[in-house]
Amino acid sequence: MSIENKAAEEPVQDQTSIQNPAVAAAPEGQTTKAPMFQLEDVGKTYKQHKREVRALDGVSLSIPAGQLVAVQGPTGGGKSTLLQMLGALDRPTEGTVRLAGREISRLHDRELADIRATEVGFVFQSFNLIPTLTAQENVEMGLEPLRLKPAERGERATQALASVGLADRAGHRPGELSGGQQQRVAIARALAKQPKVLLADEPTGNLDEGTRDEIMDLFEGLWREGLTIVLVTHDSSVARRAERRLRIAGGKLTEKR
C-alpha cells in the first residue's frame, strides 16, 4: 500500500544474504526450544486520576532468540509500554510474559531488578549516562549489581567500550563526547553484563542520519553475533534494517510483513 510496505520488503531480502549466527546455530541453540520472549494476551492499563489508559491490549507475541525486531507505531501507541514488559521494567495488568522460558510477569520488584541486572540490556533515546562519571565509570555502573571484583568489572567495562570503538574515550565524561559516542557508551553499558537481550527505545531518535547509521551498523553487528534485539523506532530507514517488523497502535500489536 505505502512506502512503509515497500520499505518492509527490502530488509527481508537483505536478511537472506546476512546470516544470523544464532539462527545458523539453530540445531544446538535455543531457537527451536523456548523462544526468547513469549507474550500471551498481555494487557496493561494505566490508572491516572480516575482516568484509565489502555496502553497494551491483548498482545500475544513470540520472539525467537537471535531475532532483530523493530517496533513501530504512532505516538502513544504503546511501543514503550511493550518494551517495559519485555525488559522487566514493569508488570502487565494481565497476561503472561516469559523471558527465556521464565515467567517474569508476576515477580517482585527485587526479582525484576535482578533480571534487569543480568539478562536485559537497555538503551535509551537520550542515552541516560550519568554526567558526572567518565565513560568507563558509566559502563561499570551497568556491572555494579553483579558484584564483580573491581578488577574484573573494570576489565569487562574496558572490553565493552572497545567493542563499540571507544577504547580511547574511556576517561571522558558524557559532556565531552558527541551524541553518537554517548549512545555507544550507553550500548557498551548495556552489553557489558552480557545480556540475553538488548532493548532499545528510539536509540537513534536524538542522532543525525550519519550517526544513526553508525549506531544501526553496531546493532546489526551485535545481531549477527547472535544477540536478540528489540528496538522501537519512528524511523523507517532504521526499521528497514530489522529482520522483523511489528506495529503497535492503540495498544494492539500487528505483524508487518
Binding site: D109, S126, N128, I130, E140, P145
Partner: protein, 507 residues
C-alpha cells in the same frame, strides 16, 4: 563503585554540596559556640558562687530576717559616756559597736548540732555575721556657750545671717563613721565555712586554741586599707584583739571575705547574740546527695531557710546573670532554630536533588540497581555532605570560641535578694545610720552614705568558653543526624521512582 560514584556526584554537583555543607556548618558552629559559652557561664557562676559562699559549701542554713520592725534598731551611741573627752565646746567621740545580722536573722546555735546529726552531712560549721561600726571625731556640745541651738531648726523666718551663724556653731562637728565586717567563726570549722576557702598569707587561721580568746584574723585587703599588720591589734566592738593571721579570700572581690574574723563565742558575747548564729555552712557527704540532704535538713529545721548551690545560682545577678540568661535562652533557641533550618534546608535540597536526578535513578533501576542500593547511595551522599559541613562547622566553631577566649569579656556577678551580703550590708548601713540619728539628733545623713560603697560590691569573673570533647562529639552527631534526615528523605523519594522514568523522553 559506591565511593567513586559518591565522590563524583559531590564534586560534580558542587553547588548543592557547598550549600548543604555551609548550612550545617553554620548550625554546628553555633551549637559549639553556644555550648562553650554556656559552659563558660556555668563555670563563671560556679566561681562567683564559690567566692560568695565558700568552696566546699554545698548547703547553707540561714533564717529569713523578720519583717523589719522599729523595735530592732541597732545599738545607740551615747556621747556622754566616760570615754568621751570634752574639750571646750565640743565632745570627742570614739565608739565601736558590733551590729548583728548581716541581712539574715540570727538563730539558735543548737541548729548546728541538729545539722551535724543529720545523716549525709560530711561537715558543718556555724558563723555569725556582724558589722563593726565606729564613730569618731568631734561633736559640738549643745549646751555650750554659743547661741541657743534649739532656735535654729524651728526658726526659718529669722534673718539669714543670724540663722546660718547659729546653725554652724550649734550643729557643727567633725566626725567619721567607719565600718568593717566581722565574722565570728567556729574554731573547729575544719573543711567547711568561710575561712575554709581563704588562704592564709601570714600567720595562721583561727583554730580551736582561739576559742574564748581575743584573737583576730584580718583579710589582706582590709589590712592594707586599715594599715593593720600581723601581731598588731584591732579594735572590735570596743575591745582590742590581737591579729594572729592575715588571709586572702578566693577572688579579690570575694563576698565570702569578711574584713575581720574572730572566734564565734567571743563574737556572740560582744554582740550580745549569745548562743546565736546567722549561717550554718554544710558540706554534703556526696555531691549527688545534696538535694535529698536539703529535704532532710528542711524537715529537721522547719523555720530555717535551706539553700543549695543551685538555689543560690538563681540569686546571682549582674551581667553574669544576663549572659547566662541570654545564652541559655536566646542562644539555645537560636541554635535550635538554625539547626532545624539547616536540617530542613539539607532535606529539601536533597529532595530537589533527587527530583532533578529522576532520570538518573530511573536509569540505574532500569539497568538493574536494586532500590536499597540507590537509597544507600543517596543517603551516603547526604551523610558525606553533612560530615563535610560538620568538619567545617567544628573548625569555624572552635575558631569562634578561640576568638571569644582571646577577648574574654569580664562579667560582674552580684547577688540579689534580702539574704545576700550586698543587700545585707546596705541594711546594716541604714541601721547604723538610724542609730547615729538616735544618738546625735542631727547628723543622720552622713551615716547611711558612708556605707554606700560597702553595699555595692560585686564579683568580677572573666568569661571563658571551654570546649569539651563531648561538644565536638555532639557536633559530629548533629552532622550525621542532619545527613541521615536528608538521606532518608531523599532516599525515600528515590525509592519511589519507577524504572520506567528512564524512558521518559522529556529532557
Amino acid at each position: 563503585m559506591f565511593a567513586r560514584y559518591l565522590r563524583r556526584e559531590l564534586s560534580g554537583r558542587r553547588k548543592q554540596t557547598v550549600i548543604i555543607a555551609i548550612a550545617l556548618a553554620l548550625a554546628i558552629a553555633l551549637v559549639i559556640v553556644v555550648n562553650a559559652l554556656s559552659a563558660g557561664v556555668r563555670d563563671a557562676q560556679k566561681a562567683a558562687l564559690a567566692s560568695v559562699y565558700g568552696v566546699g559549701t554545698d548547703i547553707t542554713v540561714t533564717q529569713a530576717p523578720a519583717a523589719p520592725g522599729s523595735g530592732t534598731q541597732g545599738p545607740r551611741f551615747q556621747f556622754n559616756g566616760g570615754n568621751d573627752s570634752s574639750q571646750g565646746s565640743s565632745t570627742s567621740v570614739n565608739q565601736s559597736r558590733l551590729i548583728s545580722g548581716r541581712g539574715s536573722a540570727t538563730f539558735d546555735s543548737t541548729s548546728l548540732a541538729t545539722v551535724q546529726k543529720t545523716s549525709g552531712v560530711q561537715a558543718a560549721s556555724a558563723a555569725l555575721s556582724l558589722t563593726n561600726v565606729t564613730l569618731n571625731g568631734q561633736v559640738a556640745q549643745q549646751n555650750g556657750t554659743g547661741a541657743a541651738p534649739t532656735a535654729a531648726p524651728t526658726a526659718p523666718s529669722q534673718t539669714g545671717e543670724s540663722q546660718s551663724g547659729t546653725t554652724r556653731r550649734g550643729f557643727g562637728g567633725n566626725f567619721g563613721v567607719d565600718s568593717f565586717s566581722v565574722l565570728g567563726v567556729d574554731g573547729n570549722a575544719g573543711t567547711v565555712g568561710p575561712l575554709a576557702s581563704a588562704t592564709v598569707s601570714k600567720g595562721r587561721a583561727l583554730g580551736a586554741q582561739d576559742v574564748g580568746q581575743h584573737n583576730a584574723v584580718v583579710d589582706s585587703s582590709y589590712a592594707t586599707t586599715a594599715n593593720l599588720s600581723l601581731g598588731g591589734t584591732i579594735n572590735v566592738g570596743g575591745q582590742n584583739f590581737t591579729i594572729v593571721g592575715i588571709v586572702s579570700a578566693t577572688g579579690s572581690d570575694s563576698q565570702t571575705a569578711s574584713d575581720v574574723y574572730i572566734p564565734l563565742d567571743v563574737a556572740q558575747t560582744l554582740s550580745t547574740e549569745t548562743g546565736k548564729v546567722s549561717t550554718v555552712y554544710v558540706q554534703a557527704a556526696s555531691s549527688d546527695q545534696v538535694s535529698t540532704l536539703k529535704t532532710d535538713l528542711q524537715k529537721a529545721l522547719p523555720s530555717q531557710t535551706i539553700n543549695t548551690q543551685a538555689d543560690l545560682a538563681s540569686n546571682v545577678s549582674g551581667s553574669l546573670s544576663t549572659a547566662s540568661g541570654l545564652i541559655s535562652g536566646l542562644g539555645t533557641w537560636l541554635s535550635v532554630a538554625v539547626l532545624a533550618a539547616a536540617f530542613l534546608l539539607a532535606a529539601l535540597l536533597t529532595l530537589s536533588g533527587v527530583s532533578r536526578r529522576t532520570r538518573e535513578f530511573g536509569t540505574l533501576k532500569a539497568i538493574g540497581w536494586r532500590n536499597g542500593r540507590i537509597v544507600r547511595q543517596v543517603a551516603g551522599e547526604s551523610i558525606v555532605q553533612s560530615l563535610i559541613g560538620g568538619v567545617v562547622g567544628i573548625a569555624v566553631g572552635l575558631i569562634a570560641v578561640l576568638v571569644i577566649n582571646m577577648f574574654a569579656p569580664t562579667l560582674s556577678a552580684g547577688t540579689s535578694g534580702g539574704r545576700t551580703f550586698g543587700g545585707a550590708a546596705r541594711q546594716a548601713g541604714s541601721a547604723a545610720g538610724s542609730a547615729a540619728q538616735n544618738g546625735g539628733g542631727g547628723f543622720g545623713g552622713g551615716g547611711g552614705g558612708g556605707f554606700a560603697g560597702f553595699g555595692g560590691s560585686a564579683t568580677h569573673v572573666a568569661l571563658g568558653a571551654p570546649v569539651t570533647p563531648a561538644v565536638v562529639l555532639i557536633a559530629v552527631g548533629i552532622a550525621i543526624l542532619g545527613g541521615l534526615i536528608a538521606g532518608v528523605v531523599g532516599g525515600w523519594r528515590a525509592a519511589r521512582l519507577q524504572p520506567a522514568e528512564a524512558l521518559r523522553s522529556l529532557a
